[in-house]
Symmetry: C2
Subunit: 116 residues, 2 copies
Amino acid sequence: MHSTSSAQPQIDQIFRALSDPTRRDVVERLSAGQASVSELAAPYAMALPSFVEHLRVLEGCGLVTSQKQGRVRTYSLAPQQLKLAEDWLGRQRKLWEGRLDRLDAYLLKLKKEKRQ
Amino acid sequence: MHSTSSAQPQIDQIFRALSDPTRRDVVERLSAGQASVSELAAPYAMALPSFVEHLRVLEGCGLVTSQKQGRVRTYSLAPQQLKLAEDWLGRQRKLWEGRLDRLDAYLLKLKKEKRQ
DNA sequence: TACATACTTAGGAGATTCCCTAAGTATGTA
DNA sequence: TACATACTTAGGGAATCTCCTAAGTATGTA
């Protein structure tokens, strides 16, 4: 159907997950090291089930992992998925910069031809 | 309320916009150069008003710009906003890598101390 | 002027999101 | 055993999203 067809549910979900400030905060917090549900939830006014749903979204797209020990569930960052999003953005930047380079080259050529 | 407080509506909207495969396709297409609404819409089965709504979302968060000449509206990429998202991801990667480095250093120190 | 083209506006249906309260289960502690 | 702690499950409500159809406006063309 499309020319480029970048319909990857995984990337969809990763960008979607990162579009919420609470979830971005959690990712940032976990960059500093693992933490339990209550530790992660503490800074937020939100009801716990609401907050836990954010954690579920993050785990659902593989941005974080968790394991339960006794009654405490501990979350950690899983940075490979972050890389997926970063790679997509990097690819766009390269395309864009490549286009600028070609435009530069073209303008330079025009200028040269004019001079002759 | 939060420790890190990354509640930036702009970044929210950018990640939100990029979470849809049609909109990511459009960004990719525009990386190759500007295009009109009908050119952009051509590959999709979607009704035109639905597709145009995607363009409105992209323009709303500054990822693309448009101008109308006669009856044709032409869209271009505005790559500065892409950089916002890329920067956020890059920052997370640095935090994460920094943490790994500190962990390495710590393990190395442990190993040394054990040897004495 | 008549007709085609390129959007644009209006309104609506169904799914999803993001929050809530109330009540439950499993685990550690006195 | 009684109680507190740390989630977990169930269900619901308002707002937003992503698509649709139908009809409108503005511009170029014969």
